[in-house]
Amino acid sequence: MPERVAEKRKVENKRISVDWLAVIVAIAALIVVKIGLVGKIPW
């Protein structure tokens, strides 16, 4: 039982850190685009 709770807590913590990582990487991308390090991103 305690292992199950610990496992679920681990999944929850991972979700939270992915959230913050996405925010940090998005801000980094914005800075890169804003200061002109990357001009056009092709699609």
Binding site: R4, E12, R15, I16, A22, V33, K40, I41
Partner: protein, 359 residues
């Protein structure tokens, strides 16, 4: 030195899976190009950003035919990161004024949708004799945020693994169906981008599928679908807290001691990034200064497309038809009835607002 090596090893562990996401995503992108002329002719039924749908389809086919070794798993699981990253970038396309104007209407719609989901699931679950906890997981999955809400709620109400996997399978089955059915219904009903986007954001359960459904309809609809879906996500903490308190009072789960901390833990932090980007993108000064010039906004838009390409390749790869088949008749029937009920209810809400001129 040892630490540096282990960090490098950690990074390399993601590369095989990421390479698979890239290959499948590119298949989706080039299939879209290949089918462009055909799609233009049939654009009455299917419309924009079809790379998303193609990436999901190719992903589902490959993922269900090929059993990938463990070395690919970490990289494939990064699709969740790319989804959140892409969603934050969409914030840069939404003016903050629009976010707040539509936000007021949206929050009322979301609250009504959550109440309707809980009510319908409870009603149908009793008919089919489903356990109370399974019905709570299905209602939170349908009402709020699909898989994340179920994963977040399961420990709070002490639900067992089997119930969680049933509820998750239901969300994934109907999410996959929504990708094709909702845009087709929207086109048949000739819905505006805003109405369709808000409908998809309200009625499609999982964030990935809601964002994809909106984008398949049109780019603008994708923006509104994302915004509405994020409102549902933002209410995840409050709803889970409600369920946790209900079960604790009945002695079926542990009591919640720090409610404020509980709410903050369950709040999806990437929503803050979305709002932050929307605020930045709305900065326009009287002297003509804009925070994001046209080319910069264009670069972020394309970056978002790349992120979604990888996301939906991962969504497809992680959709196991075999697991879906294990759902069982009763949970499936409850899921089907609830999805139909919520889909119809939210469509009527959107139409009602359309008639009153609010939307």
């Amino acid at each position: 030195m040892q630490e540096k090596k282990s960090v490098l090893k950690g990074v390399f562990e993601y590369i095989p899976g990421l390479a698979i996401l890239l290959v499948i995503g590119l298949c989706g992108k080039y299939l879209e190009r290949g089918f462009e002329s055909i799609l233009n002719e049939s654009s009455k039924v299917l419309a924009k950003d079809m790379y998303i749908l193609f990436a999901i389809i190719v992903g589902i086919i490959v993922g269900n035919l090929v059993r990938f070794p463990a070395v690919f798993r970490k990289g494939i699981a990064t699709y969740e990161f790319f989804l959140k990253f892409g969603v934050i970038l969409i914030g840069a396309r939404l003016a903050v004024q629009e976010l707040f104007t539509l936000g007021v209407v949206g929050i009322v719609l979301v609250l009504l949708e959550i109440l309707a989901s809980v009510f319908i699931v409870r009603l149908v679950s009793r008919r089919f004799g489903l356990s109370e906890k399974l019905s709570s997981l299905i209602s939170i999955g349908v009402g709020i945020c699909g898989v994340s809400a179920i994963v977040g709620c399961a420990p709070a109400i002490d639900a067992d693994e089997k119930d969680s996997s049933y509820a998750i399978a239901i969300i994934l089955i109907f999410g996959a169906m929504a990708l094709v059915l909702y845009p087709a219904i929207g086109k048949l009903l000739d819905m505006t981008d805003r109405s369709f986007g808000m409908w998809a954001g309200l009625a499609v359960d999982n964030t990935a599928e809601a964002v994809a459904t909106g984008h398949i309809y049109s780019e603008a609809a994708g923006k509104y679908a994302t915004m509405t879906k994020l409102m549902r996500n933002a209410l995840m903490g409050i709803t889970i807290l409600g369920f946790a308190l209900y079960y604790a009072r009945k002695g079926m789960a542990k009591a919640v001691t720090h409610k404020g901390r509980f709410l903050w833990e369950k709040f999806p932090k990437f929503v803050l990034g979305f709002v932050f980007f929307s605020i930045l993108a709305s900065i326009r000064l009287e002297n003509g200064f804009v925070f994001l010039a046209k080319e910069q906004a264009g670069a972020l838009k394309n970056l978002c497309k790349w992120a979604f390409m990888l996301t939906f390749a991962g969504v497809g790869l992680s959709t196991s038809i075999r697991d879906m088949g294990k759902t069982g008749f009763k949970p499936f029937a409850v899921g089907l009835t609830t999805e139909l009920g919520v889909g119809l209810f939210t469509l009527l809400l959107i139409y009602g607002l359309g008639f009153t001129g609010i939307l």
